[in-house]
């Protein structure tokens, strides 16, 4: 295809992507270098029959004027990146100097907002992914052995958790595990503890969120494994069967090695998607004990008084760095694949 024709064909989609994916990243970065305007304060003298007092109050007019001149705020360089709500270099240095044991130091650092969110995000990613792969594989194996007539319905039932949006999925589960819902109440009866609630402790909330993550992601792993199972070559399986390999041995030594590349693919996609975990936190009302990086950005943008564009931008940039880190293996894989294709 000549360059000119190619250009016209690709133009609309390229334009959409550049304008609404490429530019926002640049805009985010630009915002992260700025910080909100300071409010202009002025001293006002209030005099009444008992004497005069001076109060400091916000000069609304002057503040608005600055706001209109500099809507983005004032330039702050990389200041936002290292402030207390992000990388918190000063606080970490201080903690390092003032603590004697690693445990104490760790406690202080992990209580800083950014590191707390990072810890949850990473824990979520790495706790959800392995069970998803194992469970997805087992479900795929069992569905594969079923009679053809049943498969349609069972595949449909299996993929439901993946189809609903995370917010609705987590709400549906949340209503059941609520201390007044069916599962929550049953657990209370089972352990004979009327105060037991999955919302009560931060550990239980984390576990609930992780279980939700597994529930939501397993269907994806299932579908991919299920499709890959159809491509397992039959000849080696037959040969192994003739040589007397048991069913388990055939799965272990022929099917699983065949599915390795697929498993790595699922792992990477899962890690990448779970790195943006955010909606379940809202669905489970778990903001108090579990914050993720995406949730921090949402919170900055939802700020009641004033949207904190700078802070949101800085967290966005740091999140993108994290994604880039996770994405590198995928990119290398695609690169190699593409080269061999040519």
């Amino acid at each position: 295809m000549p360059h000119r024709t190619f250009f016209w064909f690709i133009l609309p989609t390229a334009l959409a992507m550049i304008l609404f994916i490429g530019l926002p990243i640049v805009s985010s970065f630009f915002q992260s270098l700025h910080i909100e305007n300071e409010q202009v304060l002025m001293e006002v003298e209030n005099c009444d029959p008992f004497g005069c007092t001076t109060n400091v109050r916000v000069d609304v007019e002057a503040t608005e004027k600055i706001e209109a001149e500099n809507p983005l705020g004032r330039f702050n360089g990389f200041g936002t990146y290292i402030d207390r709500n992000h990388l918190a270099f000063d606080e970490i240095r201080e903690a390092w100097d003032n603590t004697s044991t690693v445990g104490e130091f760790k406690d202080i650092v992990l209580n800083l907002p950014f590191y707390k969110a990072l810890l949850f995000t990473l824990t979520f990613c790495f706790a959800v992914t392995p069970p998803v792969i194992v469970l997805g594989f087992i479900v795929a194996l069992s569905v594969n052995t079923l009679a053809k007539k049943l498969k349609g319905f069972i595949v449909f039932g299996t993929i439901l958790p993946m189809i609903v949006t995370p917010l609705i999925g987590s709400l549906v589960l949340f209503w059941m595990i609520d201390s007044q819902g069916i599962i929550g109440a049953s657990i209370q009866i089972l352990f004979d503890d009327p105060n037991l609630s999955l919302k009560a402790s931060s550990n239980l909330t984390w576990i609930t969120l992780i279980i939700y993550g597994i529930w939501h992601n397993t269907p994806f792993a299932f579908v991919v494994f299920y499709a890959a199972l159809q491509t397992v070559p039959q000849d080696p399986l037959e040969a192994a069967f003739i040589d007397g390999a048991s069913r388990f041995e055939r799965v272990r030594f022929i099917v699983i090695p065949h599915l390795y590349p697929v498993a790595t693919f699922i792992m990477l996609i899962c890690l990448m998607d779970n790195f943006r975990v955010f909606e379940p936190i809202i669905g489970f009302s778990a903001e108090g004990v579990a914050q993720s990086l995406s949730w921090m950005i949402y919170q900055d943008l939802r700020n009641e008084n004033k949207m904190l564009f700078g802070s949101a931008g800085a967290t966005s940039m740091l999140t993108i760095l994290g994604i880039a880190f996770l994405l590198t293996p995928v990119l290398i894989r695609t690169w190699k694949e593409f080269k061999t294709e040519r």
């Binding site: 609309p12 989609t13 992507m17 994916i21 299996t158 958790p161 949006t165 955010f278």
Partner: protein, 293 residues
Amino acid sequence: MNQTINKYSKQIIIVNSIFILFWLTISIFPFIWTLWGSFKVKADFFSRADWTYALSGFNTLIETGATTTIKAYLESWTEGEFGRATMNTMIVTVSVVSISLFLGTLGAYALSRSTFKYTFYILIIALVFRAMPHITLVSGYLFPFFQLNIWGILPTTIIVLVAINQPFTLWLLYSFFKTVPKELDESALIDGCSYFQAFRYIIMPVMWPGVVTAGLFSMMLAYNDFTVTALLLNQHNYTMVPKINAYLGTVEYGGNYMWAVSSVVSATAPLFMIIWFFQRQLISGLTAGAVKG
């Protein structure tokens, strides 16, 4: 021979059936429970005294005079303006699907037919874009949108969702067009067609299987989106998912909680029906993704 391999012993069949039943319970039951509970009052669905009330509809009977009620549905669709949210979702979904397919087919066709190296870089960039968390993009939109005064309205959200959706659509349709034989449109070119005519008269009639799959994924993205719609639309223009979240913000008003429950049912039911019909295409799309990254 094949038959002996695929013959399963009784134990395997039993263990397998139990496992499948167990798994189906986990994946389907929450939805059935929500559907059931949406016809009860809050005191039953969240029963402080005894969860079996949710089954018997004890409080529902006291409050409404019957064991099931559609009060929550009626109220959320009228007072809660859920009908409006549904309308908005429909507008957004239909526009996003049609625009993204239009842009995506053109782009993907060009990518699959060009032999120059830059196609590879475009696809890699699309892959990187696909990995961007949506919320980081939204944080980039808000400020410029406020300045341009285009925040809060549906068209902006539609364009944003189309753009966010492009990388995946491009990859999916690219791998689909690769499977359409080149000879088909090449012969048309030799006969004197322009590339656009070849696309219009030769490719378009055969591209529907791929387009249906890509359309299905665009639909799911637009229909399910929360991050973009919650932050880029004003309350008045909310689509279904942010609307449901808005109901939850007012937990104190007992009734509204059931609005959320019934709205979840109203929002998921059509989606499940569509997926039931297009299951095969959905799965083929996911596997195409697996092969191509």
